[in-house]
Subunit: 532 residues, 2 copies
């Protein structure tokens, strides 16, 4: 052997490192580390789960985050990352960090036993879909490097017990069952979606720039459609307009005449959550910047491949397949070829909520609390049904974020009740009788409320209520609209407020430094168009 | 129609944008834009091609870069990006930029007709392999998002004529035909390799952290092998050691005892290009930091999947398949399970050089120059052979970087000659009779020399000669070795010099700002471990 081993090995580490939290341990070690603390299992690492886990008192609770995503996504910045105004990682925070006081398991809950207070976890480290179920398979499937796809597996399954369970699994994009949307549209829910859009945008320009691409095809490649006139769709249209006019127009001057950006919405106006004045300002501004807004348009279908167009010539099959055909109805039906379609029309139920929180189950008396006397349980085990919202399928909670139960079938005489020690928040849940929107603001307020109550041990007094801090949207060309309780604002000043708000709300100092650095660098030197 | 169109369209752009260089045009437009300039077609966008294209006088030459990669890679920083010390994009420069004065076509040359002065270009915009040929398919194949893979195609083929042709297509990693290496090893030639390594490293830790992973498997998952003790392999081992000790040790304290990093080399020492004193210093330092160096080891095979080990238990098939088995010979044969193997053992011929620059071809007299009288051509068309280096397969040039020709078979009476208007430089070429290493330094010096000569129109006087500026290597823990003509240096001061040198040599101001920002941020807050 010619091995050289002249010093200490890698694992001779300073003891202060060992003295920290133990974050990667077997279930047995997890039990041993629990001591006299209660275990809070948090499902999900979004606005709800991530904020809650970071706020729970580690002396009182052993918090275990179970989430298929190893990072938290700062969603309001996703549209910026999808065109390179910001880098992808500035919108992410890793769930594991040097300072975090919780455990983390990369996986998703497959089932819950409310009686045994136990979930079944399926680990998803090597799952290319980041634990997303089939419902959304077309969106992110195979979006990850081969390395991860080859390793894709139905991960190992193991049980994890809890004292308190917090469900913050989020929701999926609503596609209304329109054919081809699930498979072919680009969404803006995860950083992988943003990466897909960025690559596709740049490759559409590069394809259109080839000497072999006929003009008719250039026009289709550079026709970009956005479906949904809510804040996400509108902000993306603004960011897309920015990279096209500020960067791609200089890099591909001959192509720019072929570019078209269109926002479609089924309603008769966009941005319905804003007051009329701001909505109209946004419409005017967006139109002035060359982005078309087409309201009252229904989408019938989205399929892969460009439609046949005159003058397109004898195309290579694969070039043709690189685009999409959007089928529209507005009085009459029409078809348009697009480089990509970004879809942002609301949310639908997460499969975990749909399936694992099954409609009817038998719960032992101890796991149920009667709403008429909150500290009492029923006298015996019985069938219950988790209350769900009729339209969205969200879990319905009371205003203490406790999951509400209906009497199961044929037991209409039972009183209303909630699950004991089970909470739901974020996009997968709604407080009974409210119309709180499915936004980051609501999710984080709920998370902070619940953490405070759990830390104090007083979950039953002072219910949660949402205090809106206002809404805002970027609308392109350093312009935004802001609507707050104190009044509303539009234009450059609103844009500065928009940037300031997200910079302040950024979670880590790393990102609070990197975000303005990228804003400055990209404004000065242009966005990076390297594609890899 | 409910379309709103209140302002100018997207393509109503300021005229100064149109007034710039025309960068995306048909072949016809390319011809029209050429005016009385000579067209220089540059194959490749690495150290040779990218530097040359940027230095050619746009008033004198219409430069057209043809390269499958839409970016230039600053290769000395790749190892840093593979562990997140720097972000991927800090090591990239897009070929298209606001200021560039050349045209760009994303594609690769499939064939050259030296008589007609024409190449056949295959466009590769939607090619997932970035135009790389099968020889290296196992390395990067399918590494890109689905979007690009679905679009993968044998791109369109079209001819492009040249007045001068510059071949800077680079080389592939040398795997010596060892079974499984091409398919399963990770290389460090492109940013995609770096991304693959970063994801794999982090997912190995996350898999090892799962409660379901037995100890025997943790040890294999966290065993990382590097083959090749040259600067690239050693720098990577240093960066890997850094992220393990500085970041992963804190995030996964229970796992760190299982980590092992080993550098294998077939020779009896590492870093042979450094003087003995520096090499020994590096060996000592690296060993002291817990990285094993095993010299005189031959690799027999690299296959996917862990070997069976006692105590591993009844493993999920997919977990087992997530690693590799390295088969070694050092006196006796042994097998070790690894999370990944990084391979860096030198270069082999690029398939373009191997195939398109075919061994024997018939050239018209006008395309050949006789070396005995450089301004004279032979009297008639004849068979010629491009001279290639026996061991590496590189194109042999004279010291004016002109491609050298041998008389074809059965024509041994013909004199030595060079191709007219064809130059080769970078890793795919070597100057006859020299031992210049295949490094970025040589490639960029050649590019600058050639650009200067072409700009001046005096390619035949003052031949190229390489002036070494020294060699340096990062060896981990803020430590480096530097060897220059003026003397040598090791330790912290050498590390500061190492960083200073690469910062100074960085090409764009964007990266000159971003690189120190990331150095500072990652030293302060730790490296980002988000995996997506």
């Amino acid at each position: 052997m010619a091995a050289l081993r002249t010093g200490p090995s890698l694992y001779a580490l300073p003891s202060r490192i060992y003295a920290g939290q133990r974050r990667n341990i077997t279930i047995k070690q997890l039990e041993a580390a629990k001591n006299d603390r209660e275990r809070v299992v948090v499902l999900g690492s979004g606005w709800a789960g991530y904020n809650l886990a970071r706020s729970l008192n580690p002396k009182k609770f052993q918090t275990v985050v179970v989430s298929p995503r190893s990072y938290f996504v700062f969603t309001p910045l996703l549209a910026s990352t999808s065109v390179g105004t910001l880098e992808f990682r500035t919108a992410l925070e890793p769930v594991r960090s040097h300072r975090s006081k919780y455990e983390y398991i990369q996986g998703r809950a497959d089932a819950v036993d409310f009686g045994k207070k136990e979930i079944m976890v399926r680990e998803t480290v090597r799952d290319p879909n980041q634990g997303l179920l089939n419902t959304r398979a077309g969106e992110v499937r195979d979006e990850r490097p081969l390395e991860m796809r080859i390793e894709a597996s139905r991960g190992e399954l193991f049980p994890l017990s809890y004292d308190k369970l917090v469900i913050g699994v989020g929701s999926y994009s609503q596609t209304f069952g329109i054919p081809g949307v699930k498979e072919n549209a680009f969404f803006l829910k995860d950083v992988q979606d943003a990466r897909k859009i960025r690559n596709k945008l740049l490759s559409s320009f590069e394809t259109a720039a080839l000497p072999t691409t006929p003009v008719a095809l250039k026009k289709q490649l550079l026709n970009f459609a956005i479906v949904g006139g809510g804040p996400t769709g509108i902000e993306f249209s603004g960011e897309l307009r920015d990279i096209v006019r500020e960067d791609l127009a200089r890099l591909y001057p001959h192509l720019i005449e072929h570019v078209q950006i269109t926002v479609y919405d089924v309603a008769d106006k966009i941005l319905p959550m804003f007051e009329a004045k701001l909505g109209e300002y946004a419409m005017q501004h967006i139109g002035h910047e060359g982005v078309q807004i087409k309201t009252k348009h229904h989408i019938k279908e989205l399929r892969r491949g460009f439609p046949q167009v005159d003058g397109q010539g004898d195309l290579n099959h694969d070039v043709k397949a690189s685009g999409f055909t959007l089928s529209l109805q507005n009085g009459e039906t029409s078809e348009v070829g697009c480089g990509f379609v970004v879809w942002s029309t609301g949310l639908m139920s997460n499969p975990f909520v749909e399936k694992a929180l099954s409609p009817s189950f038998t719960a032992p008396a101890s796991s149920v609390r009667l709403l008429e006397n909150i500290n009492a349980s029923p006298t015996s085990s019985a069938d219950w049904r988790i209350q769900k919202h009729a339209r969205t399928g969200s879990v319905i909670t009371d205003d203490f974020l406790r999951v509400q139960l209906d009497p199961g079938d044929h037991h209409d005489d039972k009183p209303a009740a909630v699950l004991r020690d089970v909470f739901a928040l974020g996009d997968c849940a709604i407080v009974d009788g409210t119309q709180y929107p499915a936004t980051a603001q609501v999710a984080s307020q709920k998370a902070k409320w619940l953490a405070k109550k759990l830390n104090k041990g007083t979950t039953d007094i002072r219910p949660f209520s949402f205090a809106s801090q206002g809404v805002m949207a970027y609308i392109g060309r350093w312009n935004a609209i802001v609507q707050m309780n104190q009044g509303s604002l539009s234009g450059r000043a609103a844009w500065i407020m928009w940037r300031g708000a997200y910079l302040t709300k950024s979670i880590s100092w790393r990102n609070r430094i990197l975000i303005p650095v990228y804003w400055m660098i990209n404004a000065t030197f242009g966005r990076d168009i390297s594609r890899f």
